[in-house]
Symmetry: C2
């Protein structure tokens, strides 16, 4: 029975077509213009068809947000090449913030928008945010290495990791949601972020 296999394959291909098209629309046109109808238009299918492959918009956006995490984790990949743990730590923060600046819409979807978390809630009772947790684990590992070598003033891994994440996320969030540019001092956000990051590392350093 090759027909069932072919049909299954075609179904997956259609799912992928929808996802990739949705990702494209999302990146090119932004969150707001990423409507079911816009995506449907691009693939030349009716809006209702999308609902045969994704339960609702939140589920589709969840799939897009996972692609975002692929890219973020990829940018973390080469961190192991950095020998100095403290420099590796700083670079992690830097790349995180840089990702947010370079891919604001995607960062927004991954870390700010309600949508993917709604999808998670609707999926099953007590389902976990795997890709988010995976990124958090990268941060934990690097902090642990710094702690092991006695480079930090803190000793609580979890609290330190959450603090660092909050810090870089806060920076990213304020920037993306236009809370910095509305200030009287018109400052170089990029430079200011680097300075803040330096301050954080310096403060945590022993």
């Amino acid at each position: 029975m090759g027909i069932q296999e072919r049909k299954e394959r075609e179904k997956q291909e259609m799912r992928e077509l929808i996802l990739q098209t949705a990702r494209q629309v999302f990146i090119e046109e932004g969150y707001e213009k990423t409507s079911i109808r816009t995506i449907a238009d691009r693939i030349e299918y009716s809006p209702a068809t999308i609902y045969l492959y994704y339960k609702d918009k939140d589920q589709l956006l969840f799939a897009i947000h996972e692609l975002g995490f692929d890219a973020l984790l990829a940018s973390f990949q080469t961190l192991q090449e950095i020998a100095d743990p403290l420099e590796r730590f700083r670079q992690l923060g830097h790349r995180y913030v840089q990702f947010a600046i370079n891919n604001p819409e995607m960062y927004d979807l991954m870390f700010i928008s309600y949508s993917p978390m709604n999808a998670l809630e609707k999926a099953q009772e007590g389902s976990t945010w795997d890709c988010g947790y995976q990124s958090f684990h990268t941060l934990c590992s690097i902090i642990q290495e710094n702690m092991d070598q006695g480079l930090l003033r803190t000793n609580d891994l979890y609290v330190t990791a959450l603090s660092v994440w909050s810090f870089v996320h806060g920076l990213a969030c304020l920037h993306i949601r236009n809370r910095l540019k509305a200030f009287p001092e018109h400052l170089n956000t990029q430079q200011l972020m680097d300075q803040s990051l330096d301050l954080l590392i310096t403060s945590l350093k022993v």
Copy 2:
């Protein structure tokens, strides 16, 4: 000509009625259900009437977000009673995060939603975010006092203030947008936030 004065008064009263009703809907029903039609229903006027008093929804939400800042700044008011600068510093952070936890929808509107910043942009070229800047100034003052007494390791006021703000905002943001509760470890968010805040202050301390 008392008629013109009465008309002007009535106009202001109507504006206030719309604003207060909008605030009520916003707090009681949340951001999502705060539609022009919902507000119009409550005051028993047609939706179009609201547009005679507020240019668009962003402008109305901006007015609501200003009410939020009134409340936030009010919670900062009694900080001067705290003699110890470092403790005052910690309390500021604590009250900020507490405000976010207790008034998630309002915090969201004030610091996360695009809406009020859109209103600001549409208003005039180069108009500033006064209420946001005022809160930031409170933070700056307290940090300055700590610096003056040589209590901090840092010396750049602006960068330190932005870092602290990013930190507490990041915490608030992750919490409100459900990025913490999706983690395997089901932790007491409140307690974790307090610990993180302590870590920040300790790290900045000389």
